[in-house]
């Protein structure tokens, strides 16, 4: 068969979101690939130039449906950096806790998505079933299930509801049992292992040069986690360690994410222990930001997210620039794809957890 270009997308079961992966195939083997994005471009950065600082928080929630809290969190941190606000101690703990819950939720969404990618719907429903519990937790915390609008400049929206600790501990206990089930279903499954092992290997050096961050980078054996290397809230005081894997193949990326879910459970338990019971949770931010710049970076579930704010003395930002982790990882996807089979395309791209909302912005 001669070589031909195939459009995987923009409307295709493989694409999580609206984008197009053009691949050149020789028979079943991918010889070249080219991602085409921009179908979901909403002009987010231009839109923020016409909104007040608090009004951008719900918008930054909508950067990604899967990890909305972390996006509003990084936005708030950037603006706090610009305004020079210190966040109350309790709010820091609540933010870190929500971050970790969001990380679990997002990784569960990813776990759900790789099931149909690899051809098994069961894991999809199992993972979404447990994600529901975390959505319920967020719902009792802030009243919304997906776009939380919970983080505020200078703190968080409200305190945790009564019985929060009890519900959370119960959910985590149950979830840890369920984690074992996923590992039975995926790790102990010969076919899953056949599909994932030794697939699309990426060395640590290449990964660093390509700008890949997050679990994909840690799957290649690079020990870099912004929570540890550039700690932002109270992560330097918590009892946790970084999860890495050395092999750099798809299965290693899978393992890193699964380990991160367990680690997030441990972090949340630690936070519950150390969190102050009372105290302010929110500082009133100034209405007008000073002239200057603010920058914040944090460990999104998918990688390093960074926001850069320029204030010009009014209550609207002069310029807000976003670094989305997937924007960079997608630019590196041809390197991952070359030489693999068509059938591996969904699993490789599923393993980097594609979300187009934050990529196109």
């Amino acid at each position: 068969m001669a070589e031909m270009w195939i459009n995987m997308g923009p409307q295709h079961p493989m694409t999580h979101g609206l984008w197009n992966m053009r691949i050149k195939v020789d028979g079943e083997t991918i010889t070249d690939a080219e991602p085409v994005i921009g179908y979901l471009h909403r002009g987010w950065e231009k839109m923020t130039e016409d909104r007040r600082y608090p009004q951008i928080i719900p918008m930054s929630d909508r950067l990604c449906y899967g990890s909305s809290f972390t996006w509003s969190h990084v936005y708030c941190m950037a603006v706090e950096d610009l305004m020079g606000i210190e966040v109350p101690e309790k709010a820091k703990y609540i933010r870190a806790m929500s971050d970790e819950l969001q990380r679990i939720g997002n990784h569960l969404m990813w776990l759900a998505a790789i099931g149909p990618d690899l051809g098994n719907l069961t894991i999809f429903l199992y993972a979404l079933r447990e994600r529901e519990m975390f959505l319920d937790l967020f719902q009792s915390l802030c009243g919304a299930r997906m776009t939380y609008n919970y983080c505020r400049i200078g703190g968080v929206r409200n305190d945790a509801p009564p019985n929060w600790d009890r519900d959370l501990v119960r959910t985590l206990d149950y979830f840890e049992k369920r984690m074992n089930e996923y590992e039975e279903l995926v790790d102990r499954n010969k076919v899953f292992r056949m599909r994932m092992e030794d697939l699309a290997p990426l060395s640590g050096k290449d990964a660093v040069n390509l700008g890949i961050t997050g679990p994909t980078l840690r799957g290649s054996g690079v020990k870099y986690d912004i929570r540890q290397n550039d700690p932002y809230e109270i992560y330097d005081e918590l009892d946790w360690h970084m999860c890495t894997a050395d092999e750099g193949d798809t299965y290693a990326r899978y393992r890193v994410r699964m380990d991160e879910m367990r680690m997030s459970v441990q972090i949340v338990r630690d936070i519950l222990k150390k969190m102050p019971k009372t105290g302010p949770i929110r500082v009133k931010p100034p209405r007008n930001a000073p002239v200057g710049t603010g920058m914040a970076r944090m460990e999104d579930p998918r990688g390093e997210s960074l926001m850069y704010v320029i204030g010009d003395g009014t209550d609207k930002p002069y310029r807000l620039s976003v670094r989305s982790p997937l924007f960079v990882i997608l630019s590196a996807s041809p390197v991952l794809l070359r030489g693999n089979k068509i059938a591996d395309l969904p699993s490789i791209l599923g393993m980097i957890d594609v979300c187009m909302g934050e990529t196109d912005r």
Binding site: R52, P54, Q139, L185, R188, I281
Partner: protein, 250 residues
């Protein structure tokens, strides 16, 4: 190195891990979900139990609202506008007074809850109503009467915050830190038209004579009552000469 890793992985898999572990797991799940009810919720017939804080469409308590327009200005999607409507309560025989109340385009609303959060009188609340589909777009525009919702105390959203300077002083957080954002008048631009005093929803603006001009007419300047002001920006918007700005006054 890589070889030893691979054998480790094989060992992990073990003999039982061929395909029987996942099959055993799914069999267990089948038995479980056949004996109990499955996990799914039969949506139109069964519904999830929602907490009081659930953010559905915004609701309005008509009597509490003062028509300040903070909700309109804080709305990120600009789906709220103020509408002059008849007051609900009026004495018999008299025509009802005209009051300003918010109207919400629920089709554009993104349920962020800012209107309830920033409302100085807790007149706007979040409601647990989320089934908002309708056949026309006009039905999605909720006028102030349709927007009314009695609500329970849990539907109110309170801001509990402290000032940055009070962070280390162990001051208890309190709702709506007032007296911080106040309108500041620029003396040269002000023409003393007293529009701000007329339009202020909480009557926090008083016009004070500060002297007379060369024609002998009194020069009036607005003075803002710190206690009453809710920092709603109405005066800033109506000022014909843009003499007012909202600034932090410490």
């Amino acid at each position: 190195m890589a070889e030893s890793k691979k054998t480790n992985r094989q060992k992990e898999l073990g003999l039982t891990g061929f395909i029987f572990r996942p099959m055993w797991l799914t069999l267990k799940q089948t038995l479980k979900s056949s004996r109990h009810r499955p996990n799914t919720v039969q949506y139109p017939w069964e519904k999830l139990v929602l907490p009081d804080v659930y953010r559905g469409r915004p609701g309005l308590r008509f009597e509490k609202c003062i028509g300040c327009g903070i909700c309109m200005r804080m709305c990120p999607t600009r789906c709220i506008d103020l509408l002059e409507v008849d007051d609900i309560k009026h004495e018999e025989g008299k025509p009802p007074a005209k009051v300003k109340r918010p109207r919400v385009n629920v089709g554009r609303c993104m349920m962020c809850g800012y209107c309830a959060e920033y409302c100085p009188t807790d007149a706007m609340i979040v409601t647990p109503e989320y089934e908002l589909a309708s056949y026309t777009r006009e039905e999605m525009i909720y006028d102030p009467y349709k927007l009314q919702f009695a609500g329970v105390p849990g539907n109110e959203v309170h801001i509990l915050e402290v000032l940055p300077s009070e962070l280390k002083k162990d001051v208890p957080p309190r709702p709506h830190v007032k007296n911080v954002d106040l309108p500041v008048v620029e003396d040269k631009k002000c023409i003393g038209c007293s529009r701000c005093a007329k339009d202020c929803p909480v009557e926090a603006v008083k016009m004070v004579e500060v002297g007379v001009n060369e024609k002998g007419r009194p020069i009036k300047r607005p003075v803002f009552d710190k206690e009453k002001c809710v920092s709603c920006e109405t005066c800033v918007e109506v000022c014909p000469k843009s003499a007012l700005t909202l600034q932090e006054v410490q």
